[in-house]
Amino acid sequence: MTKQMTGAEMVVQALKDQGVETLFGYPGGAVLPIYDAIFHQNSVRHVLVRHEQGAAHAAEGFARSTGRVGVLLVTSGPGATNAITGLTDALMDSIPIVCITGQVPTHLIGSDAFQECDTVGITRHCTKHNYLVKRIEDLPRILHEAFYVASSGRPGPVVIDIPKDVQFATGTYSGPRNVQHKTYRPQLKAEAGKLKQALDMMLKARRPVFYTGGGVINSGRVAATLLRELVQLTGFPITSTLMGLGAFPASGKQWLGMLGMHGTFEANNAMHDCDLMIAVGARFDDRITGRLDAFSPGSRKIHVDIDPSSINKNVKVDLGIIGDCAHVLEDLIALWRSSGAAAAQRPVLTPWWQQIETWRSVKSLSFRASETLIKPQYAVQRLYELTKSRDTYITTEVGQHQMWAAQHYHFEEPNRWMTSGGLGTMGYGLPAAIGVQMAHPKALVVDIAGEASILMNMQEMSTAVQYRLPVKIFILNNEYMGMVRQWQELLHGGRYSESYSEALPDFVKLAEAYGAHGIRCTLPGDLDAAIMEMIETPKAVIFDCIVDKTENCFPMIPSGKAHNEMILGDAADVGSVIDEKGKMLV
């Protein structure tokens, strides 16, 4: 399809052709022509956020919960710079988003014009790729290429910077079918020889473990289905990173829970003592490995990843398999089935499973219950019990509440859990919840939040109210930046430097001020009824759950320690466990 139209019209037409129905944005001088084009049509719905960072996180939430590309539109200068945190967040967590930024007209570029910034320069390091469109002839190709690059291979954010004169210029539009990227072709199918090697290693393993990550979820629903099949066929235990929760059902017998710094005792010990680790779509992040030179010392390691640079980056592996998770899992299943040895596998794993059961019996996620104070873990547990049978999506902010959510909210399906993993962005959860709710209007979308994080993007309550999005903000309010306070307690002698949330707003009144509904709960006995009230309120809710102020997030691998040096909830003095080298780490 070719047609004459302006650059601004091309943007909207390309969004339509790419199947985009929802776009998050904020207008400004340098994108006015595009906003005018939006005004003239009804197929792409624009959601007006209150800050560009919110637009980026909303696009991320939309993308993570649907598996499609999320889109945002912001103006030049401050519009673009405000979006940077969200772009970086998407880069770290490999989330496909396309960010269209306005730019001053080409003849003013470089003149320090009003609201000018070097958007492609600034975003070069926080995008998978970016474009400055200087000629209208290039615009249609770049628009479609951007969607291809964002969603292919290891997904990520792509910026298209469009000067205002290019938006006004007229040119020939061509549809997505005419566009093929010159060079970018990620490898999807793995080499047969390597798959065969992987099978041999799996058949020989006596203490295997699957370690899966966000790559499985990015690969699509089919990858999660195939993962379940392979795990079931092999009888191997499975753990997952924060990003990968939901790819394997938490109710599964082979599920060990999340691993890493705040992972379960059984997951981390299985990682440490295994003889074969099969990493699928995970990247050996420092939150996962703990002390690198003591990381799973006795194991052989297989690493399946679509990004060759992930392999051998932090941990040297024995077998790197480059390919898309779904393709590799499918091939491994076929090989496993044809090997015939499958049925013989289970008995040889019995001692390993017995060992895992002894670790499991430690019940590392347990906590001391209270009659008078709401324990944050208890709050998440109750939220889980009261929402698990519904069509629920969970987002989080960043901190203790995020870890408690990961530990105590259990996911059965992929794309249900949206959290800022790599970048650790406080303020992520509310705009992400807005993005999720836009994609799933009938679903129950809960942002499990902390009182400090939520204030970072509180302005997005206006967005939720404007679009009648019934998002639920479930604040575990301990009046502290809890994770900062915890580290200060453990590492800095309890000197709580600037981590107390002074002068907090009254969240119930704040909700009312925004036109939402506010609920406060202070007693464990009232919690269930209050959560039910939140669920049944057909509009946005801020739930101020007043929890134990001094609760710490356990279990924990202290900084600089190995997986088998975890500390559990009743550890007397964690500070003395962490040495000087560990204190240097974050």
């Binding site: 030179d293 060759p308 640079s309 051998n312 932090n314």
Partner: protein, 183 residues
């Protein structure tokens, strides 16, 4: 207690260790705006070293440029650098020429030398021995053009120092694999 061994980081923290190698990478890229900034930014952002970098368009019709980068690091770091380069969208191909036997590396230098009398004669004699050409001359100076390996240029520059070395301009290394095939 075991003594702590530093993790085998491929990043700059590992540089300065004994197993540091110097490798020459050939990178084929689309010659589009910002592509060099992407490559250079990757090195600075991830703490890799650049010892030498040259770039020029080699196929004008398709705007294909060839970047030659000399970098140093542990073998793991260099493998990582190669993969990180391959991730950049406008990059077609990255080849570690050091891993290919018999790749040829050359550098061009222009060396300005000032002096009179015996020094001039000596400079010309040495230039002749190194097969350097005189490309500019005044009563009291020469500019020599010298092509060769970096070592050879280093050596020539050192010899010119006592004679009256004024300044040196070097291109950095260009490299290509031997034999009939392209990279």
């Amino acid at each position: 207690m075991t003594t702590a061994v530093s993790p085998p980081s491929p990043y700059s923290s590992a540089l300065g260790k004994p197993n540091i190698e110097v490798h020459t990478l050939s990178v084929l890229v689309d010659n589009e705006p910002g592509v060099l900034a992407r490559v250079v930014g990757l090195f600075s952002g991830r703490g890799y070293n650049i010892e030498s970098l040259t770039v020029a368009e080699v196929v004008h019709e398709t705007h294909l440029s060839r970047i030659t980068i000399v970098t140093s690091g542990t073998p793991e770091a260099i493998e990582q650098i190669r993969h990180q380069l391959e991730r950049l969208v406008p990059i077609h191909k990255v080849i570690d020429l050091t891993l290919i036997e018999r790749a040829i590396e050359r550098e061009l230098a222009m060396i300005k030398v000032r002096g009179k009398g015996d020094h001039r004669v000596e400079a010309l004699r040495l230039a002749d021995a190194f097969r350097a050409r005189v490309i500019d001359a005044t009563i009291e100076s020469f500019i020599f053009e010298l092509t060769g390996t970096s070592d050879k240029i280093d050596q020539f520059v050192e010899l010119m120092r006592p004679i009256g070395l004024v300044e040196v301009s070097r291109t950095g290394i260009a490299a290509i694999s031997r034999g009939p095939d392209a990279i």
